[in-house]
């Protein structure tokens, strides 16, 4: 990608307040970066909004990304911002289609860093088959932001057979996780100031829409719920499901797939991987009778190699998540109260 996307020559190497003014300087910055890389038939340089034809059941979702550091093992804030919203749309049972893109830049950001981020946004939109069709750029004074924050807001079309809803969660439904847990959080921690440690662990930031679409095409309404366990990890998402469905959730710790290195890092750091953030996995709650088939199907989908059944919906202990630990004991898994690590996404 770098080869086909050489950085344009600009007569400034840092972004200044003037680049956020909406005038000539703003145009100069955006023309050769954002518009050059992300241009498409709907992204209108001449208008503040995009116009398109649309029909059907629609999903709409927003996220602001404030991750620190901007560049981390396995990715950067640009692709994270695209994948995050693509995945939120997928979790609604939708096919992601259009995204908005809004930057809040701190004065002094290197144009080179901005360029790398926009290149990575381009790659992520192509991988996810979505278009950026409208955007905004603001610049704040040095010390009033932190390099760059990105908001993406997405629109997707609900897949024909999708019926994803918390009310569809039933007793005996099986809980499946799409791949190994806790990679994103541990990758970020490994480069976070004051916490640094050496590892090969990469963030799992990646789009999940293809796996979700194939799941819904194959199993339709027997897929009852989809959720991505980002901030707060698996524990928080499962607690939300238990709370909102008024049912209990029973987990088996040994069945939760986790990479050996990630597991070791969690042990050294004293962290429970259930609370560590993810960016490229999802949980699905499915009808019991198809659960084995779902796992086999998922394992053939992109980014779902280690899909596993990890638990079940029960009528015991309503609104609580209970886990059977590796050595056989049971304990309640609570929702995360504050957060394990700020600015994980």
């Amino acid at each position: 990608m770098q080869l086909s996307c050489p950085m344009p020559k600009l007569d400034f190497d840092k972004i200044t307040l003037g680049h956020g003014g909406g005038g000539t300087l703003s145009n100069k910055l955006l023309e050769k970066t954002v518009f050059e890389l992300l241009g498409n038939d709907l992204l209108d340089k001449h208008h503040d909004g995009a116009i398109f034809d649309w029909e059907g059941k629609t999903a709409f979702t927003t996220d602001s990304f404030v991750i620190s550091p901007l560049f981390f093992p396995g990715g950067n804030i640009g692709e994270l911002a695209v994948n995050g919203t693509v995945n939120d749309l997928a979790m609604c049972g939708a096919k992601p289609k259009y995204l908005s893109l809004s930057f809040i830049i701190e004065e002094g950001l290197l144009v080179e860093e901005f360029w790398k981020i926009v290149v990575s946004i381009k790659e992520a939109t192509e991988a996810a088959g979505v278009k950026i069709i409208t955007g905004d750029t603001k610049v704040v004074e040095h010390g009033k932001g932190d390099k760059i924050f990105i908001n993406t807001t997405g629109i997707g079309k609900i897949l024909p057979n999708a019926d994803i809803n918390i009310n569809r969660v039933e007793e005996a439904d099986v809980i499946i996780v799409s791949d190994v847990v806790a990679s994103h959080g541990i990758a970020i921690m490994s480069v976070r100031k004051g916490l640094e440690f050496e590892s090969d662990i990469l963030s799992d930031t990646r789009p999940l829409h293809t796996a979700v679409e194939s799941l819904i095409t194959q199993f339709g309404k027997d897929i009852h719920l989809l959720k991505d366990p980002t901030r707060g990890g698996l524990a928080s998402v499962l607690n939300e499901i238990a709370r909102d469905s008024s049912r209990g959730i029973y987990l088996e710790e040994q069945k939760i797939p986790i990479d050996d290195q990630v597991k070791a890092a969690c042990e050294i750091l004293g962290l429970d991987p259930l609370y560590v953030a993810n960016e490229g996995i999802f949980i699905t709650v499915v009808k019991e009778s198809i659960s084995e088939e779902v796992v086999q199907h998922l394992r053939k989908q992109p980014h779902c190699t280690n899909a596993s059944i990890i638990g079940q919906v029960v009528n015991d202990h309503p609104k609580q998540v209970v886990i059977k630990s590796g050595i056989g004991g049971k304990r309640i898994v609570n929702m995360l109260v504050g957060q394990q690590l700020p600015r994980i996404c």
Copy 2:
């Protein structure tokens, strides 16, 4: 409004990093503020996205708001964030319908300030007839943000008779401004550190969708273009129109409506009101034959009392904006290069 919206009792008076973690603390903050005030049938507390049925030609637009100070004469960042996106949708010829709402909060923001902002968002959405249907909240460390930044992204339905497009700008088209210029910028300057001066000047933040809808209903395709001159002011927007249509624009300074106090403040500060930001006015480019009628019609619409013809599209001096000054001379009006005042919106 304050009476019907007493601030909820919470066991914390400042927002902390934990409130951005997506766990129990996040729920505690949002439940009694955002969900309590902005709740509606589509805003789903249990899901990261909203789902709705939709059909037709659609406008989609995004803006991040970083205005400083948060509270200013005539408004605050909350209503500005709603009105800004409502107006961008209106400028596409659309009826604003749904908004997303995303906060980036700096640790330490007073819950009281957050509450006031959310109350004002509620009032603005009601005034504009739009619903907030999905959202996100992030918290960054003290010194890594500036109290609060807000992103709103909006979806609207293109009005049946609307055909708003830069390609429709023709020779002899008349340029109309909907009300007095430069109020927002001057109101912000009057309270900006190091610039403070005493005045009664208020920001013009307000929704323009009603005036636009009535204009398009009445005059349909004879309305060729709509633009709101926010950052960069009237001069920048008119330069964009000249550049993108490859036509000239001829303005008459004396015809541009401006409040006496605002004019005096501009003179004292040495500012050209053409470059001062607005939030509650728009420019429309219309067929010459209906221009007088448009002005008369607009003056009866909300927030358009001083609608005036200010100029015309010409074939002379393509891509340039030329103004006849009050004393008769002519000069070229360039686009703003950097910006007059950072963080004006």
